[in-house]
């Protein structure tokens, strides 16, 4: 998948921007959703992943 091809993106989307938008924002639907992953606070899941990968990079560097 290449996001760079999207016509209106000025630059490649970074995960920092995704955290502010896709992962942490947008309408959350609840109620009769069967697979209610929207209830998971994805930004914290994501941050934990990111923080641990940053730490890994630091250790590797």
């Amino acid at each position: 998948m290449s996001v760079v091809e999207a016509p209106h993106l000025q630059e490649q989307v970074t995960l920092l921007e995704l955290v502010d938008r896709v992962l942490n924002r947008g309408v959350v639907v609840t109620g009769d959703i069967t697979l209610a992953v929207a209830d998971v606070d994805l930004v914290y899941v994501g941050l934990r992943v990111l923080l641990s990968s940053v730490a890994t990079l630091d250790e590797a560097g």
Binding site: M1, L15, V22, G26, V28, V29, I33, L35, A38
Partner: protein, 253 residues
């Protein structure tokens, strides 16, 4: 389409009006609204599988990018209400049910974002340089010795004062930029562990502006010129789909 052994779910990217035409994804229509959907394999997107995969950074990044990409393409042509990443239903009828039960919210949100785009502004600050600029600017003329003493005292207070000044600066910048936008949101600045940058993120904001309106960009350029000497730098991104301006839960339209 025949039934297969693979169970599929319905991943919902966002909501548009029923007349919208969107390539590469399906639309589930109900009345005047439509959900942008993609059928997904529940072996990958089922509840347990998803929890597992959220810990896979490459998968998370790819999947979040796809979510962003679909909405970006739709937003170029239509008013769209982005849903948060990871909204998945078991049945197609659940999707029409969503359009039914949340229809009024979606219609109001579509009106709010129609012909408008989201711009992201991150403001970064070199804290050492900022604190230095504070210490170097005594409020009154002083003798050299007195100024030195004051500076030593100031250094001890500098961190506390700087924190206060930074908060005021962030609020002031956000207020000035908000005046150039239809709607504005200040998100929590991201921590350095996440950004990987030496500078501190001072402001992490999003602004909703009319499509094609350049006043916010001009405003950012003006502030950049005014604040560069204080060690403040601005980063503007977009146009984005209006991810930050459709949340109906916290009182936003």
């Amino acid at each position: 389409m025949s039934e297969t052994a693979t169970a599929t779910g319905w991943y919902v990217f966002g909501i548009v009006e029923a007349g919208a035409r969107v390539d590469g994804v399906e639309l589930v229509r109900n009345g005047d609204l439509a959900a942008i959907v993609s059928q997904v394999d529940l072996a990958e997107f089922g509840h347990e599988a998803l929890r597992e995969r959220l810990n896979d950074r490459a998968w998370l990044e790819d999947t979040a990018l796809r979510h962003a990409d679909v909405l970006q393409r739709v937003a170029a042509e239509h008013a769209v209400v982005p849903l948060r990443f990871g909204t998945i239903y078991d049945e197609r009828s659940d999707v029409t049910g969503l359009l039914e039960t949340r229809g009024d919210d979606f219609r109001a949100a579509l009106e709010h974002v129609r012909d408008r785009v989201e711009l992201g502004v991150k403001v970064w600050i070199d804290r050492a340089r900022f604190e230095h600029s504070l210490a170097d600017a005594p409020e009154h003329e002083e003798s050299a010795g007195r100024a030195y003493m004051l500076r030593k005292q100031n250094e001890q207070r500098a961190a506390a004062e700087a924190a206060e000044r930074l908060a005021q600066l962030a609020q002031g910048l956000h207020a000035q930029l908000s005046a150039l936008a239809v709607d504005a949101v200040a998100n929590r600045p991201q921590p350095r562990e996440l950004t990987g940058r030496d500078e501190t993120m001072l402001l992490n904001a999003a602004y909703l502006v009319p499509r094609g309106d350049t006043r916010l960009e001009a405003g950012v350029a003006g502030l950049q010129a005014a604040y560069a000497e204080l060690g403040v730098s601005f980063e503007i991104t977009g146009p984005w789909p209006p991810h930050n301006f459709v949340d109906t839960r916290d009182g936003r339209p």
